[in-house]
Symmetry: D3
Subunit: 320 residues, 6 copies
């Protein structure tokens, strides 16, 4: 893949105007308050995973709208340094427990939140959580347009809420120090971590890799792979709905969450990434409200740094 | 596309054993009874379509589970010979009124039922109906796996019910003779027409083109394009769910509906159709309970006869 | 498809210099005069289409060089508001009569001109007209390079002439008011309508959707799909022929026809259209000699507005 | 490419029934007689090719229907062992003289016949000959369906006639021994050489590589690449024309020419050839009327033996 | 992907004749003896991986021809149940240590052998080992044809030898019980594990997933994806080398190793696997010399069971 | 392919800063000296090619590091005007003798150097020369990354050295005038010719078509096809190696060789060439140290002028 976005120097300075809805905070405060009200106690079921260095719980907790959300909680034997709450890429599910051993092997608990409704066909990582909400409008394939007729019904309202409440679950766990929670994820998982960091101020750090769902207005004109084109497909069919769709998306733009964040972030970006174009990543990064650094992978596409980025994160964890 | 299925002579004789659930009829009787109980009166809203030879109503009627379903009712000015209730192909929506003029121009009313949840991104024919049901499990993209964990929650239970009740709507219309209703559709639309013909015995005829959703066990091993592979994708991820999925599908196999049909059918099939392989079409056709003829298009893929098939149907309509 | 051409604001102002041959008008005057001289009376054969709201004639009239050209004439029963003469997209044929009911259902006659030599393999709309002219040079597949060694032998000289004479046929029909003729088409059909509007001054309106064959010099450098690349393919083989080819094309550039037009036009353009890039459409639109408006579809590719555009046109027809 | 046709042992024995039209010989006798009557003397124009070991003439001779056909005649300096008349693959043209040095370097004259109408966009070998015949029906892209409504107007009637008369031109040349003429070609070129060998009995040998245009009834069901699918495309559009098309093709099937051949042939075939499937090649080879051997390339697709096959042919030439 | 190989019942019985070289055992005995003679002591370098539950060593040991081969040795803290020696899929490298935590988390040591020369561009798992051998012949891309002119120089002679000696390294490690070594791998890794199990009789078990390099004669005719086609590509170029290549491959066919194996095996196979077609897997499995079971994944392609297969293996490990 | 690089006017002026290693000349002087020291006498073996106008020798000479390199020497019968030493495109081999007749037919000797290690799978032109050097690091497929950890071990050090010594072989041949040697090639062959022209000052001319391996820093950001992406693939995996790789490449950048050239060059470039983007060709051309002209093919991709370019070169040869 050739380069296709701005040169790196321009990217480093790219900080587009944000245009957020007046009631952005009210929308999210109300959403979270309502969800927390509906939330009962999470259910932890010990899983016989065949692994001896960790214990694994199959967690079911109440997320957005009080719906049941599944997660794995992997706890290392011995001391626990804190908890990484991790979120998944688009169309992936939480898979099986033995697929989540990295943070535990580093001495951290790891709560892996499933993405509701996703991961059914992910051969490498199946999902286990339904999304018990239908729509009042036709939906394109995938989750990008589910409930998009209003911010109140949009799929990502529920998913981001799940993610904020997943941190509540981690923070309330008796083996986890609530002051030592890190949120982490790549692509959609990065978008979620970014949103959580904008919606709560008690995090130790955020690891945000090649984040999705940022700077929609540019992303829809530039992305040629991945899920952004699902939105373009939808608008290409529902030709008269662009204003309504854009209004809905304005409540979910990563730039607005980044601007509210107060924790320390480690971003990564790939310069040949046609799924989450680098300018859309820098747009959020350059608005980040707390401290932030970014790793730039000049030769990579959406995969970014992968295991190399994880090594950087393992090193950071040790120093937190 | 080269030939890939059986030679035509074998196809003509292909009538595989059917293996249907014992409570197939009970399942559908209960489903339809419950839906009809929930159904209120349909809503007809006259549309200013800019067309002078027909009138168009935007119809909203109660379908499966009592959910609102949209349709167009196109009525020719002058005498009305009967009503064609038509169903749509996978991922298509009802589009706009002026896209449905053929049957009306032949003097027949035409009720075009939208497919709930579908057609969002169909550039040629957008959908307008939501599917207000979520799932208790992760879903692959598209509708093929929505609610597939049980026949009670499977998407096609609702869609087929919508279709049966759409005929109720037509039959109750004061301009339409309830004894002169024809169901028609291609691909998914053909599967729906086939199902409706198996679930009611008051139809004048059924036009079933390159029908989908028939003889699943073979279709999943043979189809290389179109929506059958969505099921394979799902099973490739949810590796342990095949029995449950196959049980669900057994309530929706077109062969079982065809075997119950009593009306006259005109089928069509295309010999190079990798989306609805010809043997799966003949499997249903050869089980048809009423009279039936089939048009064979030897050079075509899933498009089948298209306008040529419509000409055959226009000719049949004249003679009904 | 990401955006790839100029931003919309630049497009709206884009009006490149035209560089037309000195004898452009003489060429076309001569061409039309010669064809009209060769033209005998058109032949109308009533078709038994199975449709009761319209009558259909299979028309054969003399087009370019006096060659026989086929068309459908669809007449609504009752009053006739005028006539839409419609032209087809590249590689499509006139198909079957029941595929042309929209304008008739709105009370307008519709003359659908077949594109000579095209549509043989169009599964959705077969062609029925030959092009009885061979070439003195090797031709690339498709019609783009047929006879391209000279403007006199180029395929589009004959096709545009057919189109001008099709309006003569409509205007001479006893059920049609010659002062109420609209030309319409998309893609190649838009290019033809545009050319006809530049070659006659008696039209009521022109509907020109995503027109092809405009601003060749830019189109050949920008288009990545559709038929423009046939020209690039030809020049990539016939490496020494570019000057001759460019000279031929200069007699067929839509900008020159647009500049001569006097009627009212409704254009449409799609911003992600890689077949007829938006700048090539605006180049013609911004040179239009009469009144003109343009509908911009920001999310669409070459399909443009499709049924939505037709709705706009139905509304315009009512107000003409 | 995996194997897809019969196993080699079956191929070696595959000799399907031939079903030829009763007037096959009359058709071709008449065609050739008429063409020879129309033929004037060929025109030889010496070309300054920059090559010192050979002379090159640009030849124009009268082919089918008396139309002008171009060819290169490459003559080695010194003694001339005979003449190879070579024919080209589909969509290729004769290119430039220095592309035809192999046979000349072996001491043979080489007459390279251009394929009328083809090669316009062939970047490696441009064509220079027009086909001055139009059609009375729409034509799919390429030459496969040009004039296919009747054997009299079909493109290959003219092309095969060109090829027979090209041998006349060679035989009449004062530097060439008319008893020492070899016809040669691959793919379409092989089909032409095969046809010429069936239409004249004065050849020294025929080199027929991976021949096209043989055993149509099977080829249309099996070929997935190359030009056979152009016919399938045509029939998929012109759904009602199959009988007429099949009748036309019956006058051009390579099996019928092979059965009439009397000269010695060297065939080649590739077992993974999806353009000219091996069973269609063996079908012709096994009907060959004279002596024949075949080289089997088990790992190759349509390219077959390429330079290795040429080496075999160079060796044969030495021994002729 | 549709089914393309034999039905499952035939696969279960498919046990083709083996045709092995007379000196197969001599070849491998000599090869291993020579390599072991050249082998010095392995080098273990502790890596600061940021992981607290395991220790990681970067291992360099002498493999085939005494060349240096890299590996990771991951040791769980606490008791060690045994050692899994794992091998990698084609074109993958050993990656980074934190990518190999599954077996360690289950209490087993894990020696992950790098595949010499491979993994350079594997974004998810980079390689770190060179192959310091050149070739005396042109090589196609990838490793499949490196040194293929003779069994003595073929790449897989060195790689399989590396793999046998990797077990020596594990067996000699002071924390590992040499009687409790399991070999494991998928695809190429499965082929390697299979070969090692045929070349030593001291293993506790073998986990062989969708193995590559088995039953070449059928694989080359059937595989349409993955590395088998590299061999077909080579033979399509080097048209005269098939006998030599086939002779070389006969020393590396998985069926011959399987027939010599004495340990217990757990195989897996996927029925839609076009890279390692199921019949080639069953061919080896059905020749296995020891006890063996096989997991069949009916809906999957080359990915097979993935994490689900790992769960089965974790369960087996616990019971070993 | 649309245009994607700079407009032609900018290309003509594009002469980017060169940034070459200080010891560039020392590196190459040492390399060549060492190779020449290792070189013994070349071996000429007369081949029975079946060609009577030329003689062909199979040549084996000592190239880089003294390794054996194969070539064809084709000599025309009669006077010899000089010698063209020609080099091959990436992944091609020298093929068979009868594939190299153009220069001989023009009266020039032609030494066709095989590219070591390449051409194994080239169906049209197989290679016959091994590269007897392994690597100390994993290598991506193809030759682009072989030995790239250092300029001393990089594959192109050996290949360029082969090429310089091939001219030594030609110059020492008793039928060839050492003052009349032309180097020639396209793509990789053009890069080699360019390098040879920078490394020796005794050439008569250089024909450099669409040259590869020039201006790496831009090429890696722009090329979307061909072998440059192999480097990007490598760097996308070996994420931390970019500096080392860039240092190695700096010894092989065509701009540096061009700047040292003293002979007359004829370049060609294609404006739609995504394999060797036009700006990278002009970058070298505009640095050429001697006289130079360039042919621009505006409609072509990487194939450039092909036979048309050869005609230009035949004409130049006559005038040399």
């Amino acid at each position: 893949m050739p380069l296709f976005d701005m040169p790196l120097e321009q990217l480093r300075a790219y900080r587009p105007q944000r245009d957020e809805p007046a009631d952005f905070d009210a929308f999210w405060d109300g959403t979270l308050a309502q969800a927390r009200e509906a939330a009962g106690a999470p259910l932890f079921t010990r899983v016989d995973s065949g692994l001896s260095l960790v214990t694994v719980d199959d967690v079911e907790f109440a997320g957005g709208d009080g719906d049941p959300v599944r997660a794995w909680l992997v706890l290392p034997k011995g001391d626990i340094a804190g908890c990484v709450v991790s979120y998944l890429g688009y169309s992936h599910g939480r898979g099986l427990p033995h697929q989540h051993l990295t943070w535990a092997a580093a001495g951290w608990a790891n709560l892996v939140m499933d993405s509701r409704g996703q991961g059914a066909s992910a051969r490498a990582a199946v999902g286990a959580t339904g999304d018990p909400h239908g729509t009042d409008h036709a939906q394109s394939s995938g989750m990008m347009t589910k409930g998009i007729s209003s911010p109140d019904t949009y799929y990502y309202r529920r998913l981001f809420t799940d993610a904020v409440l997943a941190v509540d679950v981690a923070a309330a766990h008796d083996r986890i120090d609530p002051a030592r929670i890190v949120v982490a994820g790549g692509s959609q998982g990065g978008a979620i971590a970014q949103a959580v960091a904008g919606l709560r101020n008690d995090l130790l750090a955020a690891f945000i890799d090649v984040p999705f769902l940022s700077h929609f207005s540019r992303a829809l004109d530039l992305a040629s792979t991945g899920p952004y084109p699902e939105l373009v497909e939808y608008l290409a069919g529902q030709r008269l709905d662009a204003d309504r769709v854009m209004r809905t998306l304005s409540y979910f733009d990563g730039m607005h969450f980044a601007a509210r964040a107060t924790t320390t972030a480690r971003y990564s970006v790939a310069l040949r990434d046609t799924t989450c174009p680098p300018s859309t990543v820098f747009a959020a990064y350059n608005h980040w409200g707390g401290e932030a650094e970014i790793d730039v992978w000049p030769w990579n596409e959406h995969e970014g740094g992968m295991a190399f980025q994880t090594e950087i994160q393992l090193d950071l964890l040790r120093r937190l």
